[in-house]
Amino acid sequence: MKLKIKIILIISSILFLLYIFSSVNKEKAHLKYALLWMISVVFTLIVALFPNFIMIIISWLEIETISNFMFYLAIIFLLIICFSLTIIVSKQKEQILKLSQELALSNVKDYRGKQVEHHEKNKRIIQ
């Protein structure tokens, strides 16, 4: 690996990692969600620091150059992170849905204008 690209990778990885740490610290990003990012950046850092070790894996995988491998890695990580975000967003949609519905049902008034209590009925009934 050429020295210039190695230095750029190492510095940018460290800076990005510090930014992720700072975001978690200030509670801007949840640790749970930031973990995947941290793993990705740490992995990139390792590859940049120890290219010789990576060469073995690359030749076994029959990839031509280290930079091809880096692109491949970056895309894989981004795909995984993206999909995990999709899962998180889906869960949040479900929660917002439930909140909105509960709010609407909790404000039900009978014809005299009195507030009627709403309770979610469960499917199974205990005898």
Binding site: N25, E27, H30, K32, H119, N122, R124, I126
Partner: protein, 241 residues
């Protein structure tokens, strides 16, 4: 005449339709001299008949329509305690693992020893017959060690959910409580902010829980995540009290 001090028992419950009545019965008639004891069950979006059971048995509860996890559910209890200005709050499991007769022991520790949080521990004295599996014990010991080197405090039972705190900690937790691994992380949060924590020996009951290979993998995954979380919390430079 001095007013009685108030204690709130916070009982988070997720799918505890079979256990919750038993648990409530064990604390409903709890009386401690000079203290007023209340309880609140936090239904964490149970998908079984927990809510029905709570209503039918007239059990005092708060209903979360989404399942938010133990951290957020517990925090809901703390917000309730804070809003109603309780002097003390004690976390109590809804599945019957915790023993009600030790609530007074925790209370005594808080009031006598001037600490902010008292942890009911299985590992301080050989009181508890049930102390969990060997693997779990090792995990707990490791986390305890981690907290020792990051916060310089020795607490043995770091995953015990059976703990009582005073009014200061109640308002602390009401405003911020760790979401994912609240038991060990909350200890780190408090220690970093200078609160005093003590451990007292208690008995706990065995939970009817099967150990499968799936749980083993999840446990390792949990251990790694908690450890990272503890390290992060201890390094947090967010300004506290």
């Amino acid at each position: 005449m001095k007013r009685k001090k108030t204690v709130l028992i916070i009982i988070p419950a997720y799918n505890e339709e079979n256990n919750i009545v038993k648990t409530i019965n064990s604390i409903r008639n709890l009386e401690i001299k000079n203290y007023e004891i209340d309880y609140i069950v936090i239904n964490d979006g149970s998908i079984d008949n927990t809510l029905l059971v709570l209503r039918d048995n007239k059990i005092n509860h708060l209903n979360l329509i989404n399942n938010l996890g133990i951290g957020a559910a517990m925090q809901t209890g703390y917000k309730y305690a804070n809003y109603h200005n309780y002097d003390y709050a004690v976390q109590f499991d809804g599945d019957g693992q915790h023993n009600a007769k030790y609530i007074s022991v925790l209370l005594k520790d808080l009031s006598d020893n001037n600490v902010d949080l008292s942890v009911g521990s299985r590992f301080v004295a050989q009181l508890s017959e049930f102390r969990s599996t060997k693997i779990r014990q090792f995990g707990i010991a490791f986390l305890s060690f981690l907290i020792k080197i990051t916060c310089k405090e020795t607490i043995k039972d770091v995953t015990s959910g059976f703990r009582m705190c005073n009014n200061d900690v109640i308002s602390e937790f009401a405003s911020s409580y760790p979401d994912d691994y609240p038991e060990p992380e909350s200890l780190v949060v408090l220690l970093k902010k200078g609160y005093k924590i003590n451990e007292v020996a208690v008995e706990m009951n065995e939970r009817e829980h099967g150990v499968s290979s799936i749980n083993k993998i999840k446990s390792i995954y949990y251990m790694i995540k908690v450890s990272i979380a503890i390290i992060f919390r201890s390094l947090s430079t967010k300004k506290g009290e």
